[in-house]
Symmetry: C2
Subunit: 308 residues, 2 copies
């Protein structure tokens, strides 16, 4: 069963495909440029940074930033750089999640995880370098006011810090056993995925200069999108092969998820509810919905959630 078959009003994926593909190419070229800029990076570390950041990826978060901020052609660079900063943070979190002391994953994005390829020390340092560079990129956004830069940095640090992504990973590693109810799982899913989706969307709205109520609405949209995404990921982990997922699967077998708690059918229901709520929130903003809805459709279309 796919998102397109759930009665959602998500549009067919085809028309937007090439637009997203070319946006993704823009993002990847810009990521490569941003990695190439800093001098003085030791070669082994630089190679690890490229390995992690330039691996094949859907670039959902940068696309989210671009589709929310809808830059005119002349303004594409700040939105693109903002998207790249979010992608750097996301990649840093993946590097750390994959470490032996966390998920102990061997494969990610179709290639060996960063610590498998470069050693644990360099992997950890690469994560720190990416995280730090993300803040540096925010400070250098071309033509953006200092007050907006300060606001963006505050949003990003709150999303990453001890009450954000870091809290999610801590609970994932040391707190899963205590999760016995749906709201605990949703909080964990929110912290693991939703929090950065929300930050990406809100930052895109801030960059665009949208009023506060629309920043809130687009944050709500992204929150539901993130929760749907994480639930789909948990479903995928149960049903996909490693080749399909491009990473280790079945790693979550011992972990409490919505799937293990309530079964696949309930997880799919929750996932569809979040998609519907995401659409409703988006409708409260001036943002052109089609590119985002198409992106969602493509995202979940790929994740065929089959009963084993």
């Amino acid at each position: 069963m796919t998102a397109a078959g759930t009665g959602s009003s998500l549009p067919n994926a085809a028309p937007q495909l090439s637009a997203d593909a070319s946006a993704r190419e823009l993002v990847e070229a810009r990521l490569e440029h941003l990695l190439a800029t800093p001098a003085g990076v030791p070669p082994h570390l630089a190679a690890a940074l490229r390995h992690a950041l330039l691996a094949p990826s859907k670039r959902i978060r940068p696309l989210l930033v671009l589709h929310v901020s809808e830059p005119r052609a002349a303004e594409v660079t700040p939105a693109l750089d903002l998207g790249c900063a979010v992608e750097m943070v996301h990649t840093a979190s993946l590097i750390l999640d994959d470490l032996p002391c966390m998920d102990d994953a061997q494969m990610r994005r179709q290639r060996p995880t960063t610590h498998m390829a470069f050693g644990q020390a360099t992997a950890i340092l690469a994560a720190i370098a990416l995280l730090t560079q993300a803040f540096a990129v925010l400070g250098q956004l071309d033509g953006v006011s200092d007050s907006t830069k300060v606001r963006l940095a505050a949003e990003l640090s709150a999303a990453v810090g001890g009450a954000g992504l870091v809290a999610g990973q801590e609970l994932d590693v040391n707190g899963r056993d205590s999760i016995v109810a749906a709201d605990g799982i949703e909080r964990l899913n929110w912290l693991k995925t939703g929090v950065l989706f929300v930050a990406a969307a809100r930052m895109g709205a801030m960059l665009r200069g949208l009023p506060e109520e629309e920043v809130e609405a687009v944050g709500l949209f992204a929150s539901h999108l993130g929760l749907a995404f994480q639930t789909a990921d948990d479903l995928l982990d149960r049903t996909a092969t490693a080749g399909e997922a491009g990473k280790d699967v079945g790693k979550d077998g011992g972990k409490t998820t919505l799937v293990t708690l309530f079964g696949e059918q309930a997880a799919q229901l929750s996932y569809r509810e979040h998609l519907a709520k995401a659409e409703a929130a988006l409708a409260q903003t001036r943002i052109t919905p089609e590119p985002l809805l198409t992106m969602m459709a493509r995202l979940f279309d790929r994740r065929e959630i089959r009963t084993p």
Copy 2:
């Protein structure tokens, strides 16, 4: 032999002792306050953050910020918070340096290293949380202009990133074998220690609104201070007991340092030269030199560098 006995014009430590001690108390109370503020931090992670950040420490970097920015009483909070942000970054770097895949240290600041006490995953996450909070603190400096905040964040991210502290640790772990000359060691010492000393001093000068040439001069001062400090640390590692150092010693036994390359006497000479150059650079600024020179004297007075 101590710094005080090297012919340097460093003043006697006694008069300033109480001033620095009370500044250190201010720093520690403020660190505790900053840790207490964020909601939503999982308890195990929060305990790790307190363990690492509130451990006994000389708080050199916050004192450096305070002595450079010389806040009037009413302006103490931004300088104090800036110092705390630097201390958060420094503590994050210590947590990571101590990991099994890096220096594999058991003790630090008189207590078990963070990964020994809380596990590797939580230790790594604590480092990320501290680093991220440092950027958050910069964004919230009371009464400081957005343009200064942006400038401070740029300085901090450059000091930490792939060409800063992270590069130093990468070279320390994976590049020591290739270091065969004094300038290689000095570069490594600069990256491991000097870079954050320099950032602390420069940020203090920026906060104070000093002109660019004085920001440069105080950066040069801190650079020499940092190199002296790292060389003293290498000397200390060879000669102190664990009890004296408050951390594992002799861990650097297999590593190339100025001491292993050229012997203790040459290392001591280099260390004294850096102290003299630090003083000369400081004299090019309007900063009251006594508190900084006294801090240096106390710092190196403690590190009795004995021939075994």
